[in-house]
């Protein structure tokens, strides 16, 4: 999967969860970059910042770095930020 993505010219445009951190912070009310979550497709644990972000569409799609399955889908409208988290089995918010 890694080699396929490396030869895809579009892969050069791929960002990561850092790029949508502001959008996520506005939605969740707190810093989300370092939050770990489990991919519902393959079980890989990644921090949100490590997900591959595709930001060409309105909003963003965050994909698992291992299996490329969609983990988070974010859409911004005038009145709200919509987050589809079905691709995450869970997100882990540690207690301080």
């Amino acid at each position: 999967m890694e080699d396929e993505r490396a030869t895809d010219a579009q892969a050069d445009h791929v960002l990561d969860g850092n790029a949508v951190a502001g959008m996520l912070m506005a939605a969740f009310g707190s810093e989300m970059s370092a939050i770990p979550g489990q991919c519902a497709h393959c079980g890989t644990m990644s921090m949100v910042a490590e997900l591959r972000a595709y930001t060409r569409a309105p909003g963003a799609v965050l994909r698992c770095p291992t299996c490329a399955g969609v983990v988070l889908r974010i859409v911004e409208t005038r009145d709200a930020v919509l987050v589809d988290a079905r691709g995450a089995s869970y997100l882990r918010f540690a207690r301080r």
Partner: protein
């Protein structure tokens, strides 16, 4: 609904050319809550007709500087915000800024070393905040954090912060800067002259050892190459942090 990071009106208080295509903007923010090295801000421009565009820019200045931050911005051909900043914006202009943002790609001098930083082009900006913060923390401290920056640029004149990096590396506090120039090299150049690869990563990392904490920032292809190299060298994944800037670059 809470609005935890409001948009603030910031004023450009100074502009400084780093390279022919890279410029630093000092932004005055009187109610700035402070930031951590590695964080970024979102900048929003709104036209009179209501059309708005946002971009994220890493904070270049160290947290110890209060009341203002530096944003170092590369002029991207066709880039909506960077072209405005480079071609139109002047001291006194105001920008909407939101932040600081980021809780993953951050480093404090209190973190145990050693520190391995890998940068491609403008990817050096958040790492420079880390190095400036490190220098402030090292001044007066008895222990130093062994640190190496591997910095990839196209040509010598494109090396952002070149003089300051020379000065920081000459301070004798455990920092070494290793450059690679990928497109052209000046006469007598003895440094690396190719894109970052496995062998270069291994050689530059070697003195720091496998206990190094790594931050990699730059164009996506460079980040992938460096992260994969470190993975193959056996560095634990949780010690490698990455920030991808998208296409192009050295």
């Amino acid at each position: 609904m809470l609005n935890p990071i409001p948009w603030r009106i910031a004023t450009i208080s100074a502009v400084h050319d780093e390279t022919p295509s890279v410029r630093t903007y000092t932004i005055a923010l009187p109610e700035w809550p402070g930031h951590r090295a590695g964080q970024h801000v979102d900048v929003r421009l709104t036209a009179e007709d209501g059309y708005s565009v946002e971009r994220s820019y890493s904070i270049a200045s160290e947290p110890e500087r209060t009341g203002e931050i530096d944003l170092t911005v590369e002029r991207i051909e066709g880039g909506e915000v960077s072209a405005f900043l480079h071609d139109v914006a002047v001291v006194g202009d105001r920008l909407e800024v939101r932040g600081p943002i980021g809780g993953y790609f951050v480093w404090e001098a209190s973190s145990p070393g050693p520190l391995f930083l890998v940068a491609g082009g403008s990817g050096v900006v958040p790492l420079m905040a880390m190095l400036r913060h490190r220098a402030r923390a090292a001044a007066g401290a008895r222990s130093t954090i062994p640190t190496r920056l591997l910095f990839s640029s196209r040509h010598l004149e494109d090396v952002i912060y070149r003089d300051e990096l020379d000065r920081l590396a000459a301070a004798g506090d455990g920092l070494e800067v290793v450059h690679t120039l990928t497109r052209s090299q000046p006469p007598g150049w003895t440094g690396y002259s190719r894109r970052i690869d496995d062998r270069m990563i291994a050689e530059v990392l070697d003195p720091l050892g496998a206990g190094a904490r790594t931050f990699i920032c730059g164009p996506t292809p460079l980040v992938e190459v460096a992260a994969n190299a470190l993975d193959r060298l056996g560095l634990p994944r949780d010690r490698i942090r990455t920030e991808r800037f998208g296409p192009s670059g050295p």
